[in-house]
């Protein structure tokens, strides 16, 4: 760079000769982004499954994967904001149960489609406010707050419905959501279009808005963010609002697919959501990552699930697979960041 020369004319320690010493593979590995690993894994997985399972590459199966992972995707997009900001929302699956129940009950009370949807979204925002205010203004640790609300929301969903599932299929107001969640245009599910729009919108917000930059700054160094004029409390509240809204949207998709609002919570949902975000390269310590990686994380776990189902492997293995993938993915990221793993250990450089 030009300003270098003014300081030290002699300075030029160029690196191009590097590759001969360290090895091309090692360089590619070290220069790779945080999402390269999961992308490569996903591609290998897809190639393997399309060879071994003829059904895998059919359009029907692909739309099935999209449909069955949309709930996780929506929650994971919300969780990505929270995790980048340096927090974690453990209550997200429970919040989805409450918003789903709210939606079901509003329909049951004869509300129109859009009132019920708006009601569910409002409840989601409210739950986000509860988490966000306690964390950002009352200043209680996010782990304590969301662990508490995890339990509270879960029980609230049961109390609301007396533990019963509300069958919404025959209710008039349910029709629009049912059509949207299960409908297609030109063979493309509406849900896929929605997922794409959601992810693009979230990625744009994170990358190109002052709010998004603030979220990263907060997760990277809270004190530095505060001293440089980021409104820490408001940004924290906002990410939990987004998570609450995501829970509401996810629950609408869930109810739309199952045609019933159930107070029970899939116990692996929270783990799957958080795992997808972390597998996608978002740092659990905050300040780094993005929704692009989260999409890959969701797809990776979803495709593995699909592969297991197609191969007639018991669903009991699901948790094991998710857990192993999570640990391996995060461990690989750590290994790259610390400069471990060389692909040509034998070729140590000759001393000059």
């Amino acid at each position: 760079m030009s300003q270098d020369t003014s300081l030290r004319p002699s300075e030029k320690i160029a690196a191009p000769s590097d590759s001969g010493r360290v090895g091309v593979l090692t360089n590619v590995w070290r220069a790779s982004g945080k999402t390269t690993g999961v992308l490569a894994g996903l591609i290998l997985l897809v190639i393997y499954l399309s060879i071994t399972q003829p059904i895998f590459m059919t359009w029907g199966n692909i739309t099935n994967i999209v449909a069955s992972n949309s709930v996780v995707l929506v929650l994971a997009v919300g969780a990505t904001f929270v995790i980048i900001s340096g927090g974690l929302d453990l209550s997200t699956a429970s919040a989805a149960a409450v918003t789903g129940m709210s939606y079901g009950m509003l329909l049951q009370h004869g509300m129109s489609a859009w009132v019920a949807v708006a009601g569910a979204l409002a409840v989601g925002l409210l739950l986000g406010i509860v988490n966000g205010v306690l964390i950002s203004y009352v200043k209680i640790s996010f782990l304590v707050v969301t662990l508490g609300t995890l339990s509270i929301f879960e029980s609230a969903a049961l109390v609301m419905s007396q533990g019963k599932t509300i069958n919404v299929f025959s209710l008039e107001g349910f029709q629009p959501i049912y059509n949207l969640v299960n409908g297609k245009v030109a063979g493309i599910p509406y849900l896929l279009i929605f997922d794409v729009l959601l992810v693009v919108a979230a990625a744009l917000v994170l990358r190109y808005t002052t709010f998004g930059r603030g979220v990263y700054a907060l997760g990277s160094n809270r004190e530095a963010a505060r001293l440089n004029g980021i409104n820490v409390a408001r940004t924290t509240l906002s990410v939990f609002l987004i998570a609450g809204l995501a829970a509401a949207v996810a629950s609408l998709i869930q109810v739309g697919r199952l045609t019933g609002a159930s107070p029970g919570i899939d116990s692996t949902l929270l783990l799957t959501v958080v795992a997808a975000v972390l597998i996608g390269g978002t740092a659990y310590t905050g300040g780094d990552g993005g929704v692009g990686g989260t999409v890959l994380g969701v797809l990776f776990l979803g495709v593995i699930q699909n592969g297991l189902t197609l191969s007639d492997v018991s669903t009991f293995w699901r948790g094991t697979v998710n857990g192993v993938v999570l640990i391996v993915a995060v461990a690989l990221g750590v290994a790259r960041d610390r400069g471990w793993l060389r692909f040509n250990r034998g070729k140590t450089p000759a001393s000059s």
């Binding site: 270098d4 002699s10 300075e11 690196a15 220069a31 190109y208 530095a224 001293l227 310590t285 780094d288």
Partner: protein
Amino acid sequence: MNASAAPLVEVRGVSKRYPGVLALDNASLAVSPGEIVALTGENGSGKSTLSKIIGGAEQPDGGVVLVDGAETVIANPATALKLGIVMISQELTLAPQLTVAENVFMGRLPRRGRVIDWATVRRRAREELAALDVHVDVNARVGDLSVELQQEVEIARAVSSKARLLILDEATSSLSEHATERLLELVREQAKRGVAVLMISHRMPELYSTAGRAAVLRDGKMVGTVPLPSTPESQLVRMMVGRELNDYYGSRDCVPGDVVLQVRDLASADGALAPTSFEVRSGEIVGIAGLVGSGKAQLGMALGGAIAATGDVRVNGSPVTLGDPRRALGAGIGLVPDDRKRAALLPTRSVAHNMTLTWLPKLSKFGVVPTRTEKRRVKEAIAEYGVKTSSPAKLITQLSGGNQQKAILGRIFALDCPVYVLSEPTRGVDVGSKSQIYALLQKLTESGAAVVIISSELPELIGLADRVLVCFQGAVHGEVSGEQLQEEVLNAIAVSGHVHSEEPS
């Protein structure tokens, strides 16, 4: 020094390559028992890399390391410790949750049978600390101590672990003058007992008062070794930077104008700073001196809104809401905090995003960042503030300390604030970057800013400031300017609160 004593540790022709940079290029160095060697050079010259290799934290790509004349692989810091090589760096390695006593004996807690003998731990920790004249409760949690006390605990741990080679990597950079002097005394004492010492410091007076010779690195190459203190400082600096450094602090061509910053009865809520009043004019640099704990750090933090405070602060006549950094920034007070790592850097973000963090409100429209403008502004700022980076997208933590600091300063300077409050603006920064930062400060002041510089480096304050306020025990105890602006005067007030013969003005 001499070749009579066999070197304790010797490196021969070591090289170390990081992605994109050859950090060490065929460098050789030997340190003998009882000898104090200063390892000097600009940031990025390879000093830290060389000390890390000797300390076992890094492995050389080429060359050999000899300990007691035998070729040795120092695979990790634990191996180094077993060989008696102890490293004290600016990065503290204490466990903040544990007590002082536990930290001093971490990894080697005295036992009685299989049970840790806590009484002995505390007693011996107390003895070790007393021997070093460090007055701290051994049962205190390290995290509750000031940075300075933490550094002293770290040193106590190193000394008590029977070191044969002590590596001081910027160990004094967070210490006050007084504490530094004590540490150096201790180092000289250890050397007399036969401990070899390798010290890295940006503070020249320290090297001259302590080291017997200086090894100079430039761009990873060993340029030469010169005896100290007989080699003139100008010659040493010339070796380090490869060119003349004329007029180190620079100069500015302006007369102080109207009062821009008015401070009346500013006091920190925690009581560390008693009500303080002063004014700063446009085009003026006011220095704040004082020991650690004198309240000078709190003065800067309170002005920048970083801590809760009371009083009346006005910028160009309009009052500033205290205790909120966002309001202070909005009112035109740009703060650069003293602890870069804790309070300024975004370690997971790029150079560009670190710099634009503070510009975002001005840069963006309706909350959207115009990336093209942003990129251009970053490029301009990188050039203007002399940040050396291969790309704006590089992680900021991959830059040297000096370049990190220039990026952090650029982040604030680009805002065109009427008032700047800079706390330790050149801490942990190499000579080359320091003089660049001084030039930036002079330019900033010439353009009409009112600047407050808080620093533990008195030569820096004397070289830059129009006048210096000296803090003592939480209050300003004197203002020094003109002919009186000398280290002895500032020191006298900082230590005792007054100058012997005359009343501070």
